[in-house]
Symmetry: C2
Subunit: 274 residues, 2 copies
Amino acid sequence: MKIAYLGPNGSFTHSAALKVFPQEDLQPYANITEVIKAYENQEADFAIVPIENSIEGSVHETLDYLFHQAEIKAVAEIIQPIKQQLMATASDKKIEKIFSHPQALAQGEQYIRQYYPQAKAEIMASTAYAARFVTEHPEQPYAAIAPHAAAEEYGLTIIAQDIQEIDENFTRFWVLGHQKAQISLQAEASKVSLALTLPDNLPGALYKALSVFAWRGINLTKTESRPLKTVLGEYFFIIDLENRSEKLLDFSLEELLTLRINFKVLGEYDVYRI
Amino acid sequence: MKIAYLGPNGSFTHSAALKVFPQEDLQPYANITEVIKAYENQEADFAIVPIENSIEGSVHETLDYLFHQAEIKAVAEIIQPIKQQLMATASDKKIEKIFSHPQALAQGEQYIRQYYPQAKAEIMASTAYAARFVTEHPEQPYAAIAPHAAAEEYGLTIIAQDIQEIDENFTRFWVLGHQKAQISLQAEASKVSLALTLPDNLPGALYKALSVFAWRGINLTKTESRPLKTVLGEYFFIIDLENRSEKLLDFSLEELLTLRINFKVLGEYDVYRI
């Protein structure tokens, strides 16, 4: 089975993919759109992309593509702790430049300021690209902030472990597909994610949409608005719901339509923590 | 009077600042945090920062800083149309690389693919930095995508006008301060922005918070969730409300507190379109 994921090798998505599909053929793609397109072009049976980080918030590229363009649903959710490592080609290396993704640089800022005050931070498109770049320039005084898997992938030495500032750093990944993924882990919850578009001429439309779930006791675990990209001030709303009763959920969705509130199901999935 | 704004000279924030404070001493700062800090350190009487774009969504750096760290409020909102220009040191220039902010590159992608299919897109931290970089390398086959003001600021020639794909592209800017700004434009609305934090042990808390406004007929123009940066799945909620009656609004805020829903007022402001 082929699994498309957000690469390159050694990315956080790669480590999530390895834990969930250890036996399968994992294929990296350069960006989120290409991962999803690989699935749409039938180059892969499932696609794995990040959807939200506990510090940085939602990954808009994923949400916007799924809402505006894709006909593919989340069939599993993976929650992975994010730990950042400082790595270089040798442990006794002089470090003058530290490469990483802006979020990882921000997370490691305190550590770097304390132990490498002379080092300059340099932005790269991803943590794994930063690691690869450092490997490709062994003669330079370079280091990268990247996941553990990137050090293994590119043969780098970890010179400082778990340098991220906030310990509670997790990323949610979605496994996208049309059929349920066979995952041999214990699910901790079952959820449904919807994208709502509200009619202009329904006052208090968001409030009414939430009422449909609230009075049935269906828990919202997240709501988020994203611009519709038409007019400033028009949004679609992503809501994540706990799925404890299919029947109650079906009734809610019917009631939404009766209120003329349209929705797209972005996913129906079990949640796995790794 | 000193006004701090998100620079450099020639940025979209700069053009908004020029229209609203044409007579004042405008001071550019390198990033949003530094703009707000300049105000906090009393280097400026007001600070101007972007808050939301109609295509890209909210500017998280602004929202997060105002919620987590700042004791400064929005006292005016400026809505500005965003139009992107392609510019170079001369109009007959051969173009091999086009520099800009990722959002501007995305907005100009169709135009570039059609008219400069051989050109390589290169990411810069802002449109105005891209324009300055092109000016600093007049011998190179470079162009930038940037606002009109950047061409004037850095003496570049506009070689293609209004290349952005979606015409409905607007950015909201906030003027931050402690006193009302004197702006000689006609206000089109009056709004209040709140950041809500919901108690863990109040089921349907967001629904209840929205109820407070919905039954009083107070319109929500926006809701958005941002991670609290503590645990995955905990958020604060930003809501923008139309302010048509101070009294009704005061009652709502009292009721929020009675429900143990905490809020921070991010701004109370008139809205100006330029």
